[in-house]
C-alpha cells in the first residue's frame, strides 16, 4: 500500500501558535488567512463607499455628494473592490486550500507567499494614504482614464495610487507563480493533472491568466507614471501621443483579470455540488477543458471595452466576449446534471445552499453580459449603467459569492469551526435579493441611456429604478456585513460548531487530514487512484463498516489504509 509518513520529520519544529502564526509565519494556511483578513477589510470599505454612491443616486437631483467627491469614491470603490478584495481573497483561499487539495505539505515557495500577503497589506496602506495627500484623492476612475492623469492631472494622489496598485499587481504575479509551481510540482503521488480537484484546476487556470495579464498593467503603470510625473507625453494626443496606449494596456489586463476572479468561484461550486449529490461531477473533463478554454478566450475580448474601435476588430472582440459565456454556461449545466442524474436527492448543507444562491446570480449575469456584447457600442453598451449592472452581477453575484461558498465549505477544515448555517440562510436571501434589486434596475436605466459615470440625473423616469437599486445596494451591504459578522463570531470568537475532520463527506484530499490540519498538513496520505481519493477509501471500507455495524470516520480510514 502506498502511503507516506510525514509526521516524524516535522516533530522537531514547534508549531507557532495564535497571532504570531499568521503575522510572522510562512505556513500556507495562516498566510492565506492573512490575505483574507486584508480582503475583508477592503470588502467592507468598498461596500460602504458603494452605499454612499448609491445614496447620491437614489433620487433625481440629489446633492448628497458633489461630483468630485462622488468620483473619488467611485475610484476608491473600484480600486479597493478589485485590487484589495477580489485579488487577495482568491489568492488567499488558493494559498490555504490548494496544497491541502493536492496533498502537499506546503506551497512551493513558502516565504514568497508570506511576502505576497504583506505586499497586499502595503498596497492597501498606500491606497488609503492616497486619500490624504495634497489636493485629495484621485477622481479619475478605477481605470484611471476619466480624465487621463497626464501632466499632473489628479495631483500627487495619482502617484500614490500608481504605487499602491503596482504593489497589488506585483503581489498577484508572485502569488500566481507560486500557485502554478505548487500545482505543477507538489502534487501527491498518483495525483495526475487529469485527477486534479476542480477548485485547484480553476485556480491553475486563473493563475495562468493573472500571470500573463497583470504584468501588462505594470507596463501601463510605468507609462502612466512617466506621463503624469516626469513630463512625458506618450498619452497626450496634442504632443504626438495616444491615450489609447494606456486604455489598451489597462483593458488587456482588466478584462481577463476580471474573468480570472470568476473561474475559482466556478471551481468552488464544482467541488460543492458533487459532494452534495454524492456523485462525480457530470462531464468533469469537459468542464475542465471548458474552464481552460474560457481562460484562453479571456485574452481576446478586452477590446470591446474600448470606445472608437474600427468595426472589424470590434466585431471580433464582441464575438469572443460572447463565446466565453459558452463554457461558463456548460459548467452550470454540469452542476445541474450532477444533481439531476442521481436517484437520491442532494444533501442541502450550508455550502450547497449558498451555491444555489450563486447559481441564480450567474444565471442572470450571463444573459446581461451577452446582450451587452451583442449590442457593442450602441444602446445598452459599455458606457451606460448596463455595463455597471452586468459586470456587478458577475463580480458580486459570482466572484464574491464564490468566496462566501468557499468559506462555508472550507472554514471547518481551515479553522475547525462551522459557520452558522441559520445566519447563512438569512444573508443568502439578503445577498441574492440585493444583487437582483441593485443591479437589474441598472440594466433598465442603462438601456435608457443613463451614463455609467453619471453622478446625478434630472429625468424623473429614472427615479423609481434608481431608488430600487439603492435599496438593493443597502440590502446587499447588510447581507455581506452579516456574513462577515458570522465569520467573525463563528471563527475568530470560536462560537461556531466544532468541525469533524470530514464534515461534508468530501471527495478530495483536504478531507483526509484533521480539522484544522497540522503544520505539515498530512500525517499520512492515502493512495490516489482517481479524482476522488477520499471517496475511494470510503467506498472500499463501506463493506467492512457495514458488517461491523458502525461508520468509521474518514481519517481512521486513511490511517487504516496507510
Amino acid at each position: 500500500m502506498t502511503s507516506v509518513d510525514t509526521a516524524a520529520t516535522t516533530e522537531a519544529t514547534p508549531e507557532p501558535q495564535g497571532y504570531s502564526a499568521w503575522l510572522g509565519g510562512t505556513d500556507h494556511k495562516s498566510v492565506g488567512t492573512l490575505c483574507l483578513v486584508v480582503a475583508f477589510v477592503f470588502l467592507l470599505t468598498g461596500g460602504v463607499l458603494a452605499a454612499a454612491m448609491r445614496t447620491q443616486l437614489a433620487q433625481p437631483d440629489l446633492a448628497v455628494l458633489a461630483r468630485k467627491p462622488y468620483l473619488q469614491l467611485l475610484t476608491f470603490h473600484g480600486t479597493f473592490s478589485f485590487f484589495l478584495f477580489l485579488l487577495p481573497a482568491w489568492i488567499g483561499i488558493a494559498f490555504a486550500i490548494v496544497p491541502l487539495q493536492i496533498g502537499a505539505p506546503r506551497l512551493a515557495f513558502a516565504r514568497l507567499a508570506a511576502f505576497t500577503a504583506w505586499l497586499f497589506v502595503a498596497a492597501g496602506a498606500f491606497l488609503i494614504l492616497s486619500a490624504f495627500v495634497h489636493a485629495g484623492a484621485s477622481a479619475n476612475g478605477w481605470s484611471m482614464d476619466n480624465p487621463l492623469p497626464i501632466h499632473g492631472v489628479g495631483g500627487r494622489a495619482v502617484d500614490v495610487w500608481i504605487l499602491g496598485v503596482g504593489l497589488a499587481a506585483v503581489a498577484t504575479v508572485l502569488g500566481s507563480v507560486n500557485l502554478l509551481t505548487t500545482v505543477l510540482r507538489m502534487r501527491a503521488p498518483g495525483l495526475t493533472l487529469a485527477r486534479l480537484p476542480m477548485f485547484s484546476w480553476s485556480v491553475f487556470v486563473s493563475a495562468a491568466v493573472f500571470l500573463l495579464a497583470v504584468p501588462v498593467l505594470l507596463a501601463g503603470l510605468v507609462v502612466l507614471y512617466v506621463d503624469h510625473h516626469m513630463g512625458a507625453h506618450v498619452l497626450d494626443p496634442r504632443r504626438g501621443g495616444n491615450p489609447l496606449v494606456w486604455q489598451v494596456l489597462f483593458a488587456f489586463f482588466a478584462y481577463p483579470a476580471m474573468w480570472a476572479t470568476v473561474f475559482p468561484a466556478l471551481g468552488v461550486v464544482s467541488e460543492i455540488v458533487p459532494v452534495s449529490a454524492r456523485a462525480a461531477l457530470f462531464q468533469r473533463k469537459q468542464v475542465a477543458f471548458g474552464l481552460a478554454g474560457a481562460g484562453t478566450l479571456a485574452f481576446f475580448g478586452w477590446g470591446s471595452e474600448l470606445a472608437g474601435n474600427k468595426p472589424i476588430p470590434q466585431i471580433l472582440f464582441s464575438v469572443t466576449a460572447i463565446l466565453i459565456l459558452g463554457p461558463i454556461a456548460l459548467t452550470m449545466l454540469s452542476w445541474l446534471g450532477t444533481i439531476a442524474l442521481q436517484r437520491r436527492a442532494p444533501r442541502f448543507h450550508a455550502p450547497m445552499v449558498q451555491s444555489i444562491g450563486l447559481l441564480t446570480c450567474l444565471g442572470l449575469a450571463l444573459p446581461a453580459l451577452a446582450v451587452m456584447y451583442a449590442m457593442g457600442q450602441g444602446g445598452a453598451g459599455h458606457q451606460s449603467q448596463w455595463w455597471v449592472g452586468a459586470w456587478h452581477q458577475l463580480l458580486v453575484g459570482v466572484s464574491t459569492f464564490g468566496i462566501i461558498c468557499a468559506l462555508y465549505y472550507w472554514a471547518p477544515k481551515l479553522w475547525g469551526r462551522h459557520l452558522n448555517a441559520g445566519v447563512g440562510g438569512l444573508h443568502l436571501l439578503a445577498i441574492v435579493g440585493g444583487v437582483d434589486l441593485a443591479f437589474i434596475p441598472l440594466l433598465i436605466v442603462g438601456a435608457q441611456g443613463m451614463h455609467r459615470r453619471a453622478t446625478t440625473y434630472g429625468a424623473d423616469s429614472w427615479g423609481p429604478a434608481n431608488l430600487i437599486s439603492t435599496i438593493g445596494a443597502y440590502l446587499l451591504a447588510a447581507g455581506v456585513a452579516l456574513f462577515v459578522l458570522n465569520l467573525v463570531v463563528s471563527v475568530v470568537l470560536r462560537r461556531g460548531r466544532l468541525a469533524t475532520d470530514d464534515p461534508w463527506e468530501g471527495d478530495t484530499l483536504e478531507w483526509a487530514t484533521s480539522s484544522p490540519p497540522p503544520l505539515h498538513n498530512f500525517d499520512s496520505l492515502p493512495e490516489v487512484r482517481s479524482s476522488r481519493p477520499v471517496h475511494d477509501i470510503r467506498m472500499a471500507a463501506a463493506a467492512d463498516a457495514a458488517t461491523a455495524g458502525e461508520e468509521p470516520d474518514t481519517r481512521e480510514l486513511v490511517e487504516a489504509s496507510a
Partner: protein
C-alpha cells in the same frame, strides 16, 4: 530554502513510497516568473510601436549605434558564458563553473555600465518626445533585469564557491541562468527595437 527542503525530504521506510523533495521548484518558478516578466516587455514594446506608427519623423533624433552594438555583443557573450557554467556543473566541473560564472558577472557588469553610460549621455530627457521616453523605459527595464540577474548570479557564485552544487543538484544555478537568459533576450529586443530598426 535548503534547510526547509531537507526537512521535507521524507522517507517512509522500507517498502513504502517516498515523498521526495519536489524537484524543479526553482526552475519551474523562474520560468513562470520570466513569462510574466516577458509580458511587461511585451506591453512596453506594443506601446512603443503604437506611438511610432502615428509619428511622422521617427526617431526624432538619430542615435549612434556604436555603444548599443557593443552592449549587444557583450550580452551575447554573457549568454554563452552563463550556459558554459551550466554545462560545466553538469559535468561536475566546479572549477570551470566558478570561472564561467565569474566571467559572466564581469561581462554583465560591463553591460550595466554600458547601458548606464548610454542613458547618462543622452541629449534629451525622458519627456522630450515619444522615442526618448521609450529609450529610457526600455533600457531601464533591461537594466532592472540585469541588476536582478547580477544579484542572482553573485548568489549562485557564492554557493558554487561553497561547494553546494554538483552534477545532480544545481537547480538554483540553472534557475539563475534561465533568468539571465531572459534578461539577455530583453536586452536584445531593446537593442533591435530602439537602435537597429527604430
Amino acid at each position: 530554502m535548503a534547510v526547509t527542503e531537507d526537512r521535507l525530504a521524507l522517507e517512509a521506510g522500507e517498502g513504502a513510497a517516498t515523498l521526495q523533495t519536489p524537484r524543479g521548484l526553482a526552475t519551474v518558478g523562474t520560468s513562470l516568473f520570466v513569462a510574466g516578466d516577458a509580458m511587461v516587455l511585451f506591453g512596453l514594446v506594443a506601446a512603443y510601436y503604437a506611438i511610432r506608427a502615428q509619428s511622422f519623423k521617427w526617431p526624432p533624433v538619430g542615435l549612434g549605434t556604436y555603444l548599443p552594438s557593443m552592449v549587444a555583443v557583450t550580452i551575447v557573450m554573457t549568454a554563452v558564458t552563463v550556459q558554459w557554467a551550466v554545462w560545466a556543473i553538469r559535468r561536475n566541473d566546479q572549477r570551470t563553473t566558478l570561472n564561467a560564472l565569474a566571467f559572466t558577472i564581469f561581462l554583465s557588469v560591463a553591460v550595466l555600465n554600458g547601458q548606464w553610460y548610454e542613458l547618462a549621455h543622452l541629449k534629451f530627457d525622458v519627456g522630450a518626445h515619444g522615442y526618448g521616453t521609450f529609450v529610457y523605459l526600455l533600457v531601464g527595464f533591461h537594466m532592472a533585469n540585469v541588476i536582478a540577474g547580477i544579484i542572482a548570479l553573485v548568489v549562485v557564485l557564492g554557493r558554487t564557491f561553497g561547494g553546494e552544487f554538483n552534477a545532480d543538484d544545481h537547480e538554483s544555478l540553472t534557475a539563475a541562468a534561465i533568468f539571465w537568459q531572459f534578461a539577455n533576450v530583453a536586452g536584445l529586443v531593446t537593442f533591435g527595437v530602439l537602435f537597429l530598426h527604430p
